[in-house]
Amino acid sequence: MVIYGVAILAISMLIGVSAGELIGTLIGIDSNIGGVGLSMIILIVAVNSLSKKGRLKKPSQDGIAFWSAIYIPIVVAMAAQQNVVAAIKGGPLAVLAGVLAVLISFAAVPILSKSNKPKKENASK
């Protein structure tokens, strides 16, 4: 059933985000550390082990696939509720800091990608 897939996704998120909260509390900061990333790893492991045993039927997979297909529209909705006005009102300091941070971080991507490259690299396309 489709709901099985949705439930696997939901449970992965609840465990991962709880773990992120716990890590935050343990090191004494009021923030979730990597909850989403941990959830992703849990989901990958869960999906892999279930499909190896043949326990993840097509409808269940569709329950997860739906959410990943609706991801871009959700991101658009997220963009539509950003505090754009406040960002622009921050004035030249905020704009300059933001612009420089993006430019320099972009520039650092190829530098880091080229360092200690693994033996073979698979293009994603």
Partner: protein
């Protein structure tokens, strides 16, 4: 008119689905007809989203963009943290775990480099605008990391609300520019494989900016970038009010 408005308000999440669906349609239409597919439909959709957010912000004076207009309140649910995180996590469904493992170490390193880079850029900009107090400088640097790290650091150090607002603004600008310019920059910075996407997520840090920027570049890269980016804010909240504040205090 009022009864239609009530229907839209009472079914706000459904209204949001309809509105975002129409926005996507319009964006892909503009993409194929006006730019012949050169500018990706989702990149246009994200820019339209930001424009709508600006409109919402100016009309209502609120903080949640279009979602502050009552009939569009559902945008706040659809694009809010809960569904956004659920959708981001679901993208891991298509992930190649071996890629994650092989790029794990460099992805982790990129997190530290990313936080240091953005923080010190913020520090330098703050200095050039005449800020000289260690708390102010640290808060602005933290905000340049992400708009969540800024206020967390600022409140921990007892910064003034103006400085905190400024730090949020710097982080918001970074996030929006990442959303808009990632698809354009992708070619030049080799952002076309899982490994560079993980590095990218670690360096940029803003989950929203990274996720939206990669979605507009190549949706297959989203999970890799999102996976590292999600650690950034937490790590930033850990490092900025402690180690980085300490460094700034020693220097100034």
């Amino acid at each position: 008119m009022d009864s239609i408005k009530n229907v839209l308000i009472e079914n706000s999440l459904v209204t949001a689905f309809a509105l975002i669906g129409l926005t996507m349609y319009l964006s892909y239409f503009i993409s194929t007809k006006l730019t012949r597919g050169k500018l990706h439909g989702s990149a246009i959709a994200i820019m339209l989203g930001l424009l709508l957010a600006y409109y919402g912000g100016t009309v209502t004076g609120g903080e949640k963009g279009l979602a502050d207009i009552s009939i569009f309140a559902g945008i706040g649910i659809m694009g809010g943290g809960m569904l956004r995180d659920l959708a981001i996590i679901s993208t891991a469904f298509g992930v190649n775990f071996n890629q994650v493992k092989s790029a794990g170490a460099i992805g982790f390193l990129s997190l530290f480099i990313g936080i240091f880079l953005s923080f010190f850029i913020g520090v330098i900009v703050a200095l050039s605008f005449g800020y000289s107090n260690a708390v102010d400088i640290t808060t602005i640097g933290a905000g340049t990391a992400t708009y969540i790290v800024g206020p967390v650091t600022g409140s921990a150090l007892g910064a003034s609300s103006e400085v905190i607002t400024l730090s949020i603004a710097a982080g918001l600008i970074k996030s929006m520019l990442t959303m808009i310019f990632t698809p354009f920059a992708a070619k030049f910075i080799g952002l076309n494989n899982p490994r560079s996407a993980m590095i990218f997520g670690g360096l940029m840090g803003t989950t929203s900016g990274t996720a939206a920027g990669l979605a507009a570049t190549d949706p297959k890269l989203v999970p890799y970038g999102a996976m590292t980016a999600t650690f950034y804010t937490g790590l930033g909240c850990l490092l900025c009010p402690s180690l980085l504040y300490f460094i700034i205090q020693l220097t100034f």
